[in-house]
């Protein structure tokens, strides 16, 4: 059966997720569990609720409305509410009843046609900029059949397609998807399998194997490396990465280093999620330059900050 994803956002006029002007479709759901994730609202495949504390007028209506008794005041001062995730069954009565739009549903079940319609609207911009559509998330490969269907549709419309993925998927599926994908934005987080499993929750072997096979199929691949303090920003990791990338049958286009930033902090708060990088400073460009130099020295084209600078 076709697994239908929830969509958190269809973002138009994106400049950093592939060439040209693009529309990015954010799928809700991912197999990995990266603690630094920049899109925490896309981790779980289920509906989430954002609580916008700044909009809340403390009227207490949500507390009255909740059939599960899942909402309470955070403190006796009644300055904010708290949703008990254990009790909540996502009936969304609280969201509908909030007069001040302080509660927001995250994740929409959009019809296939609706997604396609929205993405096609900017076609005139793709044409002049060599842009297109990027599937992102979460991980589009968490919903392989649906992604495949979308990609087929976009290719039929002659639109450039990109897939931003963790690569954690059955090879048969990925192989099929490759036929309709012009560019992969492929995440490589850490070369050490044990560490990978410890921190992210899954082993990296499948990811690495898939990348090898993709390369053999001559897919266009950009490697994305989130550079995370104390996790993968060490020489050893990048030495291993160089060895691995150099052993690929066909070279990847480039490695994009994405220095850590904590701009997702607010989203974690709104979702009521724990975030271990709270207060962690942004990583400056200078802090990752040594990696850029190291990779370049090994003949791997590298950028800092993604596709800005893609002409390189």
């Amino acid at each position: 059966m076709l697994k239908i994803p929830l969509i958190t956002e269809i973002q138009r006029y994106c400049a950093n997720d592939g060439p040209g002007i693009r529309t990015v479709i954010f799928f809700k759901g991912c197999s990995l569990n990266c603690p630094w994730c920049h899109n925490p609202e896309c981790k779980s495949p289920k509906v989430d609720i954002y609580y916008h504390e700044d909009k809340c007028q403390h009227c207490g209506r949500c507390i009255e409305n909740c059939p599960q008794g899942a909402i309470s005041w955070r403190s006796p001062k009644k300055e904010a509410i708290l949703i008990d995730k254990e009790k909540c069954n996502k009936c969304l009565k609280c969201v509908e009843g909030c007069p001040f739009k302080a509660l927001e549903k995250v994740g929409q079940a959009l019809a296939f046609e609706q997604i396609v319609d929205e993405a096609l609207r900017d076609k005139p911009f793709y044409e002049t900029s060599n842009g297109g559509v990027t599937l992102s998330g979460g991980d589009p490969l968490f919903f392989p059949e649906f992604s495949l269907k979308l990609l087929k549709k976009f290719k039929a419309e002659m639109i450039h397609t990109a897939v931003e993925t963790s690569g954690y998927s059955k090879w048969e599926i990925l192989k099929e998807i490759t036929k309709y994908t012009d560019l992969f934005l492929y995440d490589l987080k850490c070369m050490d399998s044990i560490k990978h499993k410890d921190v992210i929750g899954v082993d990296n072997r499948l990811i690495l194997d898939n990348l090898k096979r993709l390369s053999a199929l001559k897919a266009n691949i950009r490697i994305r490396v989130p550079v995370i303090p104390r996790f993968n920003d060490n020489k050893e990791n990048f030495s291993l990465m160089v060895d691995y990338l150099q052993a690929l049958q066909n070279p990847t286009i480039a490695v994009d280093l994405l220095p850590f930033h904590n701009s997702a902090e607010k989203k974690y708060t709104q979702l009521g999620l724990n975030y271990i990088y709270r207060g962690e400073p942004f990583m400056e460009k200078e802090q990752v330059e040594w990696i850029e130099n190291f990779l370049e020295k090994n003949n791997i084209t590298t950028t800092i900050g993604g596709l800005i600078g893609v002409e390189k």
Binding site: R12, A15, G309, V310
Partner: protein, 823 residues
């Protein structure tokens, strides 16, 4: 080895200012206003124009008015104090000192009274009091008041539903024919006019048999020609005064280099505008002299309507490319254009408080047009187009603004120069779709038609409105005004009663809004209110024009126009291609409001009209939940067909209703949806609106720009929405867009923007202009204005120095910018 990036390529295009230009810029007297006041201390009115005009008028009592106007101009030019500043190469000013501005005492006696009681009164206060007293019965305002009653007066001057009428403001924007100055020289014009006068005199005295209806048109024409001659000769004498001054200064000058420069100035001012221009230096000086007379000394005129790269091209080519006459390098040409920009920057206008508010942050509106196609349809962007853009990016002054005509085969290099200006935050060039504008001009307005070749010679009359240029260009001065549709909607929801501002019944009774049964009932009431306002401003505009032709003639301007000379007409009377428009404001607030009412009241029936009217009267206080529903209803600018349909139809019937009016030339005005800074000054004048806006909050920032904070889907969705408007029904339509500072400054910035612009053009959208600001920087500038003297933001049809804006206006701009970053 470092590769050469896209960014390096762009940075190379723009060189720093020359030493000379920097020194001149540092000592400029800016005439910018803020919160209705001039920012720089010491900026005020100079007495000389008023003094010498009045002196002359007292002596010419009994003569024809047009002759009196010409003689008064001559008296000013013969006697006003002139000066040349250190380092200047381009000379000429509109007042006796660089910190002063001339007074237009003949337009509006309110302004004279206002001036007498303001800090901007000339030092010779008593003299000016007498002058003002003498002029009171002769002002346009006094002449107009004979034709209107109290009710009309209140409606016109309340400034609730329409801009003050022209007979109060004296506002205009002429399009002189610079080409006839460059090609014929004023001596050539004089010859032509003398010939016409001579022929007419002969005809009048010797006609046999006598044909009264024809012959009796001659005396008026002869007066007009005589006046033209007086004016043209006076302008030549005035330029020669500059030549003499320069020569005198050269004699005294110790520095041999400066001495040489002064002699060069003397040579140029002896030559132009009397004789045809030889090279680029002549052409720049001749343009500046002509501009000063037409738009500052003969009368007040806003804008700088000209197609500059075409107009100067033959002389640029002769000097810079062929090195045949007045040879110079490209760098010298850039410097000269920079000096021209600085001249404009020091220019200013004494104006009423209202206009000081409307033009917040600017000294006035000066818009130069470049680019586009040639009359034969081929690419018209040349090296001078790029030089003009480069000079703007170099000088970093808000004035003059540039309007770039973007056509299908836009050269990438010109686009790059334009991008450099935008990237630096200048807010211009403002970009107009060449094909759309040409199409609209060819269609005309019901009074005469333009050939496609003539239409292709268009330039912006003011911020946004194309008009023909050249030696015979149709209407030489503006026929336009502004109207506030937000008020029309408020009146439709209050049976014509203005409860939020004037507390008067200023609109017709269109019925109790709580009894409206359908969306059409509401629309009907709105249309009646809209029509009422527009009939009234058409009336006041026509009355102004009628009086201007009798008492506010411009013989010098007229002498430059081939048709005016041929027909012995004043520029004001020239009717063949009338180019009328109204700046229709707040239309997006109205569209968003109508869509919200349609959805929530008439379709979903979530609220009743009664509730809505109550909530609006209460300024949404106590109705926050309801306000949020209206605020979250579909909004224009998100490529959402529901509200886009409402908007599209609104724009359509704004045009159709407006065109029901016929002006005195038989033309039908078209709407030009745009705002100046009026969207700030209007906030307090327009009550709460059903789009969720509260009384006092700003209106939309003009034309088809989405309401602040309402464009949630980014710039491509905005363009897709805008593409739904039928621009052939509009005179133009302003669109403000925000661009991300970071992307603009990255390697990817230009290619992305260029692609975006190509799509914009392909979609057939009329206009676009950009704000590029970093909101951190804006916040800092608010706190430390001294650190940011050059920070420029786009306001509406023009750019302003950020530090010159009121806190309220600054906050609005910051909100607009933050929205972009969050989006």
């Amino acid at each position: 080895m470092k590769n050469i990036t896209e960014k390096d390529k762009q940075d190379e295009l723009i060189k720093p200012m020359t030493e000379r230009a920097r020194k001149l810029k540092d000592t400029l007297w800016w005439k910018h206003t803020r919160g209705g006041e001039y920012v720089e201390k010491g900026v005020k009115a100079g007495i000389e124009r008023a003094r010498y005009m009045t002196q002359s008028f007292k002596e010419t009592d009994g003569e024809e008015w047009v002759i009196r106007r010409a003689k008064a101009l001559a008296n000013v030019l013969d006697n006003m104090t002139i000066f040349i500043k250190d380092h200047e190469l381009l000379v000429g000013d509109h007042a006796e000192k660089p910190n002063l501005m001339p007074i237009y005492q003949e337009s509006n006696y309110f302004l004279n009274i206002d001036l007498l009681n303001s800090p901007y009164c000339p030092d010779e206060k008593e003299e000016f009091r007498e002058i003002a007293e003498w002029w009171k019965p002769h002002t346009l305002q006094a002449k107009a008041e004979k034709y209107i009653d109290e009710e009309e007066k209140e409606l016109q001057s309340a400034n609730a539903s329409m801009e003050s009428p022209g007979y109060l403001t004296g506002y205009s924007s002429p399009t002189p024919s610079y080409e006839s100055v460059f090609e014929d020289g004023l001596e050539g014009r004089i010859e032509r006019i003398e010939k016409k006068l001579k022929e007419a005199q002969d005809e009048f005295l010797h006609q046999n048999p006598w044909n009264g209806p024809e012959a009796m048109t001659l005396p008026k024409k002869m007066d007009e020609w005589k006046a033209m001659l007086i004016a043209d000769k006076a302008v030549i004498r005035w330029a020669k005064r500059y030549a003499r001054l320069a020569r005198y200064m050269a004699e005294e000058e110790k520095n041999p280099k400066r001495k040489e420069e002064l002699l060069m100035i003397a040579d140029i001012c002896d030559h132009v505008p009397a004789k045809p221009c030889r090279g680029f230096r002549d052409a720049v000086q001749a343009q500046w002299f002509t501009y000063l007379i037409v738009q500052s000394l003969e009368r007040y005129g806003s804008g700088m309507s000209c197609k500059m790269d075409t107009m100067w091209w033959p002389y640029y080519k002769r000097s810079v490319i062929d090195k045949a006459e007045q040879p110079m390098t490209r760098e010298e040409a850039v410097e000269l254009v920079v000096l021209h920009r600085l001249k404009v920057s020091e220019h200013g206008v004494i104006k009423s408080r209202l206009y000081r508010e409307i033009h917040a942050g600017a000294n006035d509106l000066f818009i130069i047009t470049i680019g586009g196609v040639e009359p034969d349809g081929s690419n018209g962007c040349n090296e001078l187009t790029n030089v003009i853009l480069e000079a703007a990016a170099t000088a970093m002054t808000t004035e003059p603004s540039l309007g770039l005509r973007w056509h299908e085969n836009m050269p990438e290099l010109t686009a790059r120069y334009a991008y450099e200006c935008i990237k630096r935050g200048l807010g211009f060039p403002s970009i107009k779709n060449d094909e759309v504008a040409i199409n609209s001009l060819v269609q005309g307005f019901g009074s005469g038609t333009l050939s496609i070749q003539d239409a292709r010679r268009w330039a912006l009359c003011l911020c946004m409105s194309p008009g023909p240029t050249g030696r015979h260009g149709g209407l030489r001065t503006r026929w336009a005004c502004s109207s506030y549709t937000g008020k029309c909607l408020e009146l439709a929801l209050s049976d014509g009663y203005d409860y939020s501002y004037t507390d008067m019944q200023i609109g017709p009774k269109t019925g109790d809004p709580t009894k409206f049964k359908t969306f059409d009932d509401l629309l009907q009431a709105y249309k009646i209110q809209y029509q009422h306002v527009h009939s009234a401003i058409t009336r006041s505009r026509d009355l102004t024009r009628y009086l201007e032709a009798k008492f506010y003639q411009s013989p010098f301007l007229s002498s430059l126009d081939d048709e005016c000379v041929e027909r012995g007409l004043d520029g004001i009377e020239w009717d063949e291609f009338c180019n009328p428009w109204f700046n229709v404001m707040d239309d997006v607030v109205v569209a968003d409001s109508l869509a919200a009412v349609k959805k929530l009241v008439f379709e979903e029936k979530k609220y009743t009209m009664e509730q809505l009217v109550k909530a609006l009267r209460a300024n949404w206080e106590g109705y926050e939940e309801m306000r949020l529903d209206f605020w979250n209803a579909p909004k224009w600018g998100n490529d959402d067909d529901y509200v886009d349909d409402v908007t599209k139809n609104l724009f359509r019937y704004h045009s159709l209703e407006l065109q029901q009016n016929t002006n005195l030339f038989g033309a039908h005005p078209k709407p030009l949806p745009q705002h100046v800074a009026i969207y700030w000054t209007l906030g307090p004048r327009i009550g709460a609106t059903p789009n969720g806006r509260r009384h006092g909050e700003v209106l939309d920032d003009g034309g088809s720009s989405p309401y602040i904070g309402c464009d949630k889907k980014g710039p491509t969705a905005v363009l897709n929405s805008c593409a739904k408007i039928d621009y052939s029904l509009q005179k133009g339509c302003l669109l403000n867009q925000k661009l991300d500072h970071n992307v603009m400054n990255s390697d990817k910035g230009f290619p992305l923007w260029f692609a975006y612009m190509k799509t914009w053009h392909k979609l057939g959208i009329d206009h676009v202009q950009f704000n590029v600001c970093d909101h951190e920087q804006l916040r800092d500038a608010q706190k430390h204005p001294e650190k940011y003297p050059d920070l420029i933001v786009r306001v509406a049809g023009y750019s302003a120095r950020f530090i010159d804006l009121s806190v309220y206006a600054q906050d609005t701009i910051i909100a607009r910018t933050e929205q972009e970053l969050a989006g």
